[in-house]
Amino acid sequence: MRGASSNIRRAVRVACRRRGSPQVLWRYFSDSGTDAPGHEDCDVVVVGGGPAGLALASALASKRTLRGSVKVTLVEGSDLSKIYNWDLPPDAFSNRVVSLTNATLDFLDEIGAWTHVDVERTCPIEEMQVWDGISDARMDFNAAALGISRRGGSNQMARLTETLNLQRGLLRRLREQPNVTLLDNTKVMNISEDDIPGGAWPMVQLSDGVTLRARLLVGADGINSPVRSYSKIDSYGWDYPTCAIVATLLHPPRTFRPNTCAYQRFLPTGPIAFLPLSPTASSLVWSTSPALAAVLTKTDPAVLTSMINAAFRLPEVSVRYLHGHLLDVPSLSPDDLRAEISFREQAHAIAPYSALASANVHPAEAGVGIPDEGAHGLPPLVADIQPGTVASFPLRFRHAEAYIGNRTALIGDAAHVIHPLAGQGLNLGLGDAAALARCIQTAVMHGGDIGSRTALVPYTRERYFENHKMMSAVDKLHKLYASTAPPLVWARSTGVEVLNELDTLKAGIIGAAGGRSSAHSVPGSPWEMVAGGVETLVSGTRVMGAVGTGLRSVAGGILQQLGRVASGPGKDQRE
């Protein structure tokens, strides 16, 4: 029988494991007294110490009404002390970067975690420039112009943060919260139902031999969620034929504006994004074919640097050529590549002083003097890549068919995995954590059993459709922009086809999709904002003239048909 003595033994063991780590992050199991032999009873067991799991634990512990009444245990397979002790010099950045929406920031503030995030290492996004790789039709989201601001803060639409900085902040916050027991270096080996009559509660068997019986078992355990399997909840979706390359980019400071604009160009192979982190460092997220990703992650950093600069600047036809060329000659030298790009620039009549030129320009000199007219619409020239930061990961779409099971709930990547093009994945996960914590609080106030379906249904109701809307908008945008067919390019460039998706995305960015819209931050109606976006798109098309003039004069009837054609590919692939 596991009694008080074994709890102490366990406490000692946990403490021993921590020797050498100066922080007392780790707590002992309290002796609840009601434990049946062979297991320890917990109110909430969270599996997974990723951002979603940590945020949920912290949110639960920060609710005054739950203090003392809800015992939370978080189980994580890896060593969290590594994240707790994570430290990088101020000018070096981790390659996993997330964009946190204002709604997410409000939530982190509310639970007392944001003060533990090193804000010096984060960067506001005040503007976003997004353009079509083929037509160059451009959308410009400007936080100040849209009147988006944080409560008492700057004009920012989001804040870029290293995932590790966020996770470390959450761990620091949890250290102040005695209601949570963190068990790291501990894997969930098996989950089964208890055999107590009238029970069927989840019994969570840990790698250290301990078994936890959970009133509510939360799966924050990522894409291959063991909690989801235990709950017999199917997850549907597909793997995109693309990978995302991430890297920390180094560049000279910008002279004519702060580095607070995010750039994203939609190439048919996938979007390439430049996300600012500091005046001289930014993060790359480049979705492209796995074959190219394999070459680019292994190649000379100078080659990758040139490829990135070209990918933001050269006409699509030449970008495509360069990709093919690199696949044919993976050992291409930086000089040969530069010569190739230079040749292409001449062929496209790109002047050496133009903002579109990169082959023969030294990045440090690009920003000197009067910047070229187009410089505002492009990220700074990348000079180098922080060593050891180039990596790639597969892109997937997954949505669990339900978020709750028998005494289980799913949050974060365990519930949904999304394409990173809108930077919404982690925000959705943290939105789940916020909603589930609220739902648990309401249930406790009403004397509910927090593992019961009745208690958990409001969580699904709040999140499922909201997440689904965002996920399909992002998926549709990805598929739409993957096309090179002129009617589609035209349709997306004039905003005909992307109207609804943009609406969803904007709502997400300004925080409405985070479950709480802060009315003070939104000027006018969403419709007005979308209309503004479309205007920019149309004028962009006119200026660039990349799409045949004939197409632009098609009558409205054809327009509708185009809409149908455009939504076709997305649907087909989904089936």
Partner: protein
């Protein structure tokens, strides 16, 4: 009349964890029987399904948080208006600070009786809010199910032997229990009054079980064309949300009938619980309150109708609260 089924004492033995010890059994038949045999056997058949939140009792499970919310609100309202008025709510020793709106354990230290507890849906919630809960039912099988379910929950202490006793179940009727000396701060009887044969006698027993200054909470269904349509036509006959035969329309009770019942002295010479009503027949809020509770199919949930919508929102399901005079 609640009769002991053969083999009852055996089935009973595993419920003996509650403070309903064998000494109360077998019980003499209650002096006035308000329990309808046909109804008892009907629910006994169904009681295995009590805790299937998506099954037969789904509507009841969904209704529970809203009933609790009403109880919370009224108890807090009274505590905050008259902190020392509650009979024995506060331990005599401490200067009682009324629990705040955010406090989960608002019923801490109170003795609460749940009459007609069924599978224990409401009783468990009352216990979680801190109440010292006794839940009774006329069906032995229901008591069995409720006890078994609560025992599986490590958060609920079912043993009255320890001082922290929070939840116990007894197979006993209100009419029998009233002969014992114990009285309660709160007596709840949810969705019961429309199932008993002699509602007046039943209500009198419930009322007598309340301590002076204590609360009586009821929930039932009004006898209106709308409630016929919703609870009998739609829920039982058309959509089969609940088992046909669950309700008998003629037994439904109207709010004004409950108000009328408590406007008259319950015993000769006693002070009536409701001293006055307004022109539209509603009592003052410090004495009694009627609140509609409406199921919205498109939301798949109930809503506790705002106060202002009474009486039109009380055409079908409603909650009733009345407070016993302190005397």
């Amino acid at each position: 009349m609640a009769r002991m089924a053969p083999g009852e004492s055996q089935a009973w033995s595993w419920t003996a964890r509650g403070w309903a010890s064998r000494s109360f059994l077998p019980q003499p038949p209650p002096p006035i029987s308000t329990v309808n045999d046909a109804e008892v056997s009907h629910f006994s058949r169904l009681s295995a399904l009590w805790w299937d939140e998506r099954g037969e009792f789904a509507l009841l499970h969904k209704m529970n948080p809203h009933r609790i919310r009403f109880i919370r609100e009224k108890v807090l309202e009274v505590l905050q208006a008259q902190p020392d008025a509650m009979s024995a709510a506060a331990p005599a020793s401490s200067t009682h600070i009324p629990p705040s709106l955010e406090s989960p354990r608002v019923l801490e230290g109170m003795d609460v009786l749940d009459v007609g507890c069924g599978g224990g849906i409401l009783s468990e919630s009352l216990a979680r809010l801190g109440a010292n809960t006794l839940a009774i039912d006329a069906s032995a099988e229901n008591i069995g199910i409720a006890t078994r379910h609560a025992a599986a929950d490590p958060g609920l202490t079912c043993s009255a032997a320890s001082a922290s006793a929070t939840l116990s179940f007894r197979h006993v009727t209100a009419e029998t229990l009233v002969q014992e000396p114990k009285r309660f701060d709160i007596v709840c009887s949810m969705e019961v009054v429309e199932h008993v044969d002699n509602p007046a006698a039943f209500l009198r027993s419930c009322a007598e079980l309340v301590k002076p200054g204590g609360h009586l909470f009821l929930s039932t269904i009004a006898r209106t064309p709308l409630s016929y349509l919703l609870t009998i036509m739609a829920a039982e006959k058309v959509f089969r949300l609940v088992e046909p035969g669950t309700h008998t329309f003629s037994k439904f009770v109207n709010p004004e009938e409950l108000i009328g019942f408590f406007t008259k002295p319950l015993m000769p010479g006693a002070r009536p619980w409701i001293s006055r009503t307004y022109a539209h027949g509603l009592p003052t809020r410090i004495e009694a309150e009627v609140r509609g509770i409406v199921y919205l199919p498109w939301r798949g949930d109930w809503v506790l109708a705002p106060r202002e919508t009474t009486p039109w929102s009380t055409q079908a399901n409603y909650l009733f609260w009345v407070r016993k005079p302190i005397e």
